[in-house]
């Protein structure tokens, strides 16, 4: 069972929620097993609201990048 690696990119450091549970931080590499997950981050000021993706074929050198943009109101 090999680890998969994900990096959730955002302009600020925030908690990452995977399937609704706090699991890692933005801009840090997160270890996870292969599978489909819904990613979001703490707060309201970002877009899209969530990203669902099947995570596979990643390495520690090439993590899957999940990107959220800050919304300035």
């Amino acid at each position: 069972m090999d680890d998969q690696f994900v990096e959730v990119e955002f302009v600020e450091d925030r908690n990452v929620l995977i399937d609704g549970i706090h699991n890692g931080f933005t801009n840090k590499i997160i270890r996870i097993d292969e599978g489909e997950y819904t990613f979001t981050i703490q707060g309201e000021d970002f877009t899209p609201k969530e990203i669902t993706k099947y995570i596979e074929n990643t390495t520690a050198l090439k993590p899957e990048i999940i990107k959220f943009e800050k919304v300035i109101s």
Binding site: N27, E34, G35, A60
Partner: protein, 476 residues
Amino acid sequence: MKNKAFFCTVIGFLILLLTSCGTFPKNPDLAKYEPKVGYRYDNLESGDNNTNSLFVILAFSGGGTRAASLSYGVLQELGNTQIEWKGQTKRLLDEVDIISSVSGGSFTSAYYTLNRDKIFDGTFEKKFLKANIEKKLKSQLFKPSNWFNLIGTSYGRSDLAADYWDNYLFNHATFQSLLDKGSRPFLMLNATDMGTGGQFLFIQDQMDLICSDLSELPIARAVAASSAFPGLLTPLTLENYAGTCSYEPSVWVSRRLKHRKKAPQKAETAELRQSYYLKNEPGIQRDYIHLVDGGVADNIGLRSVLHAMNSPEPSYSIQRMINNEIIEKLVIIVVNAATYHDPKRDKKPKVPGVIDVLTTASTIPLSNYTYDTIQLVKHRVDEFNEAVALRAQCNQIMTANNCPVQLEDNLYKLDLYLSHLTFDSIEDDETRHWFKNLPTSFKLPSETVDKLKDMGKILLQNTKSFKTLLEEIGAE
């Protein structure tokens, strides 16, 4: 007329007797599924002397009194080991967060979790480790009050054993008693579900699937299920109340089923999970769950730990705690009391009997599986270190080649210490053979129990990763 009255009385008595025959004590049902309530990892505080940053997991194997004594010796040694961590001097035992156990090891783990340091006051040794438990259990069979129970088809010898442990060893404690302790270690007693062949953990997350309230269940029943050695003891039954508590299945189940083609093994795991709560689906009719010795699925209690390392899903997910940068040092101590298979058999040309063959058929795959499990955990530990090392090496190469960019230092590092305590690491041939020839039973001579306790301490002290840990955080 008198004869007729006598006949009627006898028939009436027999009917009364048969209807009062034993049925298994029902596991309590759960009125409503509440994911934040019950015996779950999240509902226990770490404890006064227990930090999250130093996370200690113990796994106790099966093996009757031999396993119980060896793991007891390890607990004693952890209690004697002083460490300095985050400015506090304390015992390493105080830092234990999770104990996962199987069969014989479950007696020590459950007694310790329930009674904490009182396990060392001599009572446990006297009442369990050094007692002839087999004789005590057999004597229960000769009690007329138990005969009526045993006539029943759903009440077996494991139910009798569970009642006995409940009275004799655990003083009617339930999982609520463990919750009332308020702090870790979190106890994970492993049994094997005969219907799925997988582990059945006595934690509320598992009991949710069958809408049963673990908090009201006697600990003794869980220990009895964990140690229901096939053939010697009967399976233990739980009623499946699925569909009565508004259980909400985890999203990962539907997702795993959706991606069956990509990951068929994961889909199968999801199906096994579903088999508890989709009991009215065609092909699935699980009104009762029959449990046998946890050793059938995993004789060292490590699979549930591995699951916690691999998955973000369980409440005790270690993977999640690492991602959240909670754990700095992860210590896993596996106490494995495995021995040789019966060497006496090969001294004679006699064809082995049916019981011998069945026992061999059920125990040899366990030993092989145990080896695989240890290898998987080792692989997992290596994988953690390799990912960090890989990024560091890459950066070194880039620096050496005057590369203007560097990989960010954003993969969390932690220190991992895996200690596998096994008789195989005893160097002296005679001593090793002596320990590896000990029987699996619930009666061992007092001196043998003492030797096992001492060996538990020695094995722990001599394990390389444990020595490394103490070099780093050991106190004078």
